[in-house]
């Protein structure tokens, strides 16, 4: 990776975050925002000469929402890149494999029955993992997991858990229904520092694990027998990849609902940008591009119309055509030219 592309990638999320602070339905003069950021960095404790509302909007609404989008982008993209590698299949991510729907079902179940943050995440994790295993066992054949079977199995599992979510909505008592519905929109509007703090550890652990395994991901992508003969305990290592990916995605899903396509698109963008499939650079690049992209999508979601759009809808509008484009170009070859 050249120095220039490295710099671009690392700077990307920071610039996007900075600019995102200026966007929103409540108009605050940009120079005031600049001064607020400056003051906050220099001396956080001094009394502010601007309205308290400004303070709340910038630092307690926009900033945590930005951080949440960054975390979500990392979770979805890095898990997508890892899953594509271990399944030797450039057309999968946590959404396609049904992990997101499973996690969504788990979260909905917990929100409807036992509404405490920790148990929501745990339940999302367990059902995300369960969904994956169902998809995998449907698609698995003696000689591997064919691309088409995996995608079809994912569709089946996703619709199964979506039906489950509908059932939960149907039976939830009206007082709790609002919580489920807000969350189901697939939106980052529910953020706040509490949410950010609660998912940071899971995303962080998952990311560190996959980041450190980035070389091993290359070897795992050569196929089971070859990876084994090169000295890898394939079952164990693949399971760790899967746990890490599910942990990240399910904890983010438990807060923001099901947001698709980011995990599918971003790894391809990273490979195209770097002109390399080497996970030693693709994993960190996916984290940078993914966080910036989800943040941009969320900016669009809150600024495009007077209403707040669900960001999941926007990522799907952008992602579905991208998926078709990859399919047409033969998936694996898509980033070679």
């Amino acid at each position: 990776m050249g120095k220039t592309s490295f710099t671009i990638l690392v700077v990307l999320p920071f610039i996007t975050s900075f600019l995102s602070l200026f966007l929103g339905s409540y108009i605050i003069p940009p120079e005031t925002i600049l001064r607020m950021i400056f003051m906050k960095l220099i001396s956080p404790s001094t009394h502010s000469p601007w309205p308290a509302t400004y303070e709340t909007i910038i630092f307690d609404i926009r900033l945590p929402r930005i951080v949440l989008a960054l975390l979500g982008g990392v979770a979805l993209s890095v898990s997508g890149a890892s899953l594509q590698t271990v399944f030797r299949n450039p057309l999968v991510d946590s959404y396609i494999l049904g992990i997101s729907a499973g996690a969504g079902f788990g979260a909905a179940l917990a929100i409807a029955v036992i509404p405490y943050a920790v148990s929501i995440q745990l339940s999302a994790f367990i059902f995300g993992l369960l969904a994956f295993f169902i998809t995998y066992s449907i698609a698995k054949t003696r000689s591997g997991t064919p691309i088409v079977s995996l995608i079809l199995a994912g569709v089946i599992v996703t619709s199964l858990f979506s039906a489950g979510i509908s059932l939960i909505k149907f039976f939830t008592d009206p007082h709790r229904l609002a919580g489920v519905v807000t969350w189901l929109m697939g939106s980052l509007a529910v953020s706040g520092w509490g949410n950010v703090v609660s998912i940071t550890p899971s995303v962080f652990i998952g990311f560190i694990a996959l980041f450190l395994m980035r070389w091993r991901l290359n070897v795992l992508s050569m196929g089971d027998e070859e990876a084994r003969s090169l000295g890898i305990n394939v079952e164990r290592d693949r399971f760790i990849v899967l746990l890490a990916a599910t942990l990240m995605v399910s904890s983010f899903t438990s807060i923001a609902g099901i947001i698709g396509w980011i995990g599918l698109m971003v790894p391809h963008m990273a490979r195209m940008f770097l002109r390399s499939p080497d996970n030693r650079v693709v994993i960190p690049a996916s984290a940078c591009i993914g966080s910036a992209l989800l943040l941009l999508a969320d900016d669009a979601a809150r600024c495009l119309t007077t209403y707040e759009l669900p960001v999941g809808v926007l990522t799907t509008i952008g992602g579905a055509p991208f998926f078709l484009y990859l399919l047409k170009r033969g998936g694996a070859r898509a980033w070679r030219e």
Binding site: L212, W215, R216, V219, S221, L230, N233, P277, D278, R336
Partner: protein, 258 residues
């Protein structure tokens, strides 16, 4: 010195016997070729030796150690496996593919170091493909891929190298070239080589010992001159062949299917 010992190996996929009563000894620095028609059990035997398939009882020993009792990483340091060349999904560079040979020396969270890269480059040089180091592995020729996979096995610094049909899908020249490299590796690095071939002429040219296989058994196992005979070729391949001997070597000249 006897590097690999296979004793009374039998293996079954669950329906009928695939391999029965296989015994084999391979000295370091020598080449043993498993020769036989398709479906005679050559690949299955190689996979059993490399513990990719697991026979019910222990019967494969490398330097006296049971391969079934070794961890994957431990075995990979002793034994390199060269599969039939294939096209991976992701177009890694040639150097990155060879570098994968260093995996067994790294723990799960470790990246290859400068020293590992040096070793991979050295392996690539020894098969004469250093100039291809930055090319995508998916875009080089079949013969080059086979050599890259051999370089990857060399990067493992093993004492034994197994090769599954290293000449499959290669043209006349590349078959010869790849086998020359294999022979050089065996002699120079004192590595025990076990490979499978289905062409008796190539096996004759490049082996120290030929194990002739049919229906999951070894029917003859000795030096090439005593194994490549009219009777053996007829028994194993079902072909009547003349063995032409010009004093410098033998050539199997097929005459008629029996």
């Amino acid at each position: 010195m006897e590097r690999v010992i296979v004793e009374d190996l039998s293996f079954s996929y669950g329906y009928g016997f695939e391999l029965r009563d296989i015994s084999l000894r391979v000295k370091s620095g020598s080449i043993v070729t498993l020769l036989g028609p398709n479906g005679s059990g050559k690949t299955t035997l190689l996979k059993c030796i490399n513990a990719l398939l697991k026979p019910k009882t222990s019967c494969v020993y490398v330097d006296g150690k049971d391969v079934l009792k070794m961890k994957e990483s431990e075995l990979a340091k002793l034994m390199g496996y060269v599969p039939q060349s294939h096209s991976p999904v992701f177009p890694y560079t040639v150097l990155d593919v060879v570098l994968m040979g260093r995996t067994s020396y790294l723990n799960i969270f470790q990246q290859p170091s400068r020293a590992d890269i040096d070793k991979a480059e050295e392996a690539l040089k020894s098969v004469g493909l250093y100039s291809l180091r930055d090319r995508p592995y998916t875009e080089i020729s079949g013969g080059e891929r086979q050599l890259v996979l051999i370089a990857r096995a060399l990067a493992q610094e093993p004492k034994v190298i197994l090769l599954d049909e290293p000449t499959a899908h290669l043209d006349f020249k590349n078959q010869f070239k790849v086998l020359r490299v294999i022979k050089e590796v065996a002699r120079k690095r004192d590595v025990a080589v076990i490979m499978s071939l289905h062409d008796p002429n190539l096996a004759y040219l490049f082996s120290d010992v030929i194990a002739l296989m049919k229906d999951g058994r070894i029917v003859a196992c000795s030096d090439p001159n005593s194994v490549i005979t009219r009777e053996n070729i007829r028994a194993v391949y079902g072909i009547d062949a003349e063995i032409v001997d010009n004093g410098r070597g033998k050539l199997v000249l097929p005459l008629e299917a029996v």
